[in-house]
């Protein structure tokens, strides 16, 4: 069995366990390299994980291709406060996997939520409750899209 990049796992654990300062949340005060570490670690480990999964599961490449193909379309919907199923109904192309939708929504939430803040007046990216509310909305829109697509 291939070694699953123990140092990367360690890095993610370090970030998860870091001390949370007792002051208002301010994303600009988090050093850039620290905030990007978990995503970079994930992306670095991804090809290796993908290879392992492909050796175990038949047709494991399909969800990955689905993700790449659908990402921009779904992210565009989420960035405008829309349930992503709207898009697929018009184009006639639905995602093949529920997992694709969940993964895209999660990555959007991690990396592009600032686009959503752009369309919501008086929502402040530095405000914890605004952040929590919009992240919850992304979850709700994703669940709604799943309910619409896979009843």
């Amino acid at each position: 069995m291939v070694d699953l990049k123990v140092p990367l796992v360690q890095e993610i654990e370090d970030v998860a366990n870091r001390e949370i300062p007792d002051r208002p949340y301010d994303p600009e005060r988090i050093p850039d390299d620290l905030s990007k570490k978990p995503v970079n670690a994930f992306l670095e480990g991804l090809p290796e994980v993908s290879t392992i999964v492909c050796t175990i599961c038949d047709d494991a490449g399909a969800p990955e291709a689905d993700f790449v193909e659908q990402y921009r379309k779904i992210a565009r919907c989420l960035a405008h406060g829309l349930v992503p199923s709207a898009l697929f109904r018009r184009s006639g192309a639905a995602p093949s996997w529920v997992v694709t939708l969940i993964n895209i929504a999660y990555i959007f939430q991690c990396t592009e939520i600032s686009d959503l803040f752009e369309v919501v007046e008086k929502a402040d990216p530095k405000d914890v409750s605004d952040n929590a509310r919009l992240r919850q909305r992304i979850e709700e829109w994703t669940l709604k899209a799943i309910a619409d697509f896979f009843p």
């Binding site: 405008h80 406060g81 829309l82 349930v83 018009r90 919501v120 929502a123 829109w141 709604k144 309910a147």
Partner: protein, 195 residues
């Protein structure tokens, strides 16, 4: 102000969803033969009942004060319920529940909407909307105040046609640069407590 026709509604549905001119409506049922949406009438859009509800319950407080009471106080006055699409929600005689449309929608910058009770329901003493006006660029499922004015309980099933949305074209509104809107009641997928 003029009422939007089926043809105009279909044209707006074809615009890219992020466009300020786009009308978004999901889920829509499509006719297999023509490929066109089934829920669009000549001058309105059929709306169906969703699966999540807020039911009133007996509250220990003497009353709730509007608008001064904290939002948290309302939590004790309602009970959330979610049902499957093959189950029924029961509305007791003279009772009211908050529900929502199955459809999630976004209105263009130059359209307003009005929700009307379907006449077949109205004839059963049900009204579905007491705050039925929808503003341009609104997005979300629509909250419905479903009131049973009859002396008999009624059971409603999700996905049942429950209302009609009439869209009005506004005259002389300037096109905004983006679809930015206020955050209050932004993007709900089910009935929510007052903010």
């Amino acid at each position: 102000m003029s009422v939007m026709t089926r043809e105009e509604i279909l044209r707006r549905l074809e615009s890219p969803p992020e466009d300020v001119c786009a009308l978004v409506l999901t889920p829509l049922a499509y006719d297999e033969g023509t490929g066109e949406p089934q829920d669009i009438d000549e001058d309105s859009i059929d709306l169906r009942l969703g699966t999540r509800f807020l039911l009133p319950r007996v509250h220990h407080a003497e009353c709730l004060r509007y608008p001064t009471d904290e939002r948290e106080n309302y939590f004790e006055a309602v009970e959330a319920a979610e049902i499957r699409s093959d189950e029924y929600i029961t509305i007791p005689a003279h009772g009211t529940v908050l529900g929502s449309t199955l459809e999630y929608l976004k209105l263009p910058y130059d359209l307003s909407g009005q929700v009307l009770t379907r006449s077949s329901l109205a004839r059963r003493f049900i009204t579905i909307a007491t705050a039925p006006w929808i503003h341009p660029l609104y997005r979300g499922c629509l909250t419905l105040e479903i009131a049973n004015a009859s002396n008999t309980a009624i059971k409603l099933r999700p996905k049942a046609p429950i209302g009609q949305l009439v869209l009005f074209k506004l005259d002389d509104v300037s096109r905004p640069k983006s679809d930015r809107i206020e955050s209050k009641y932004f993007g709900p997928t089910y009935a929510e407590l007052p903010m």
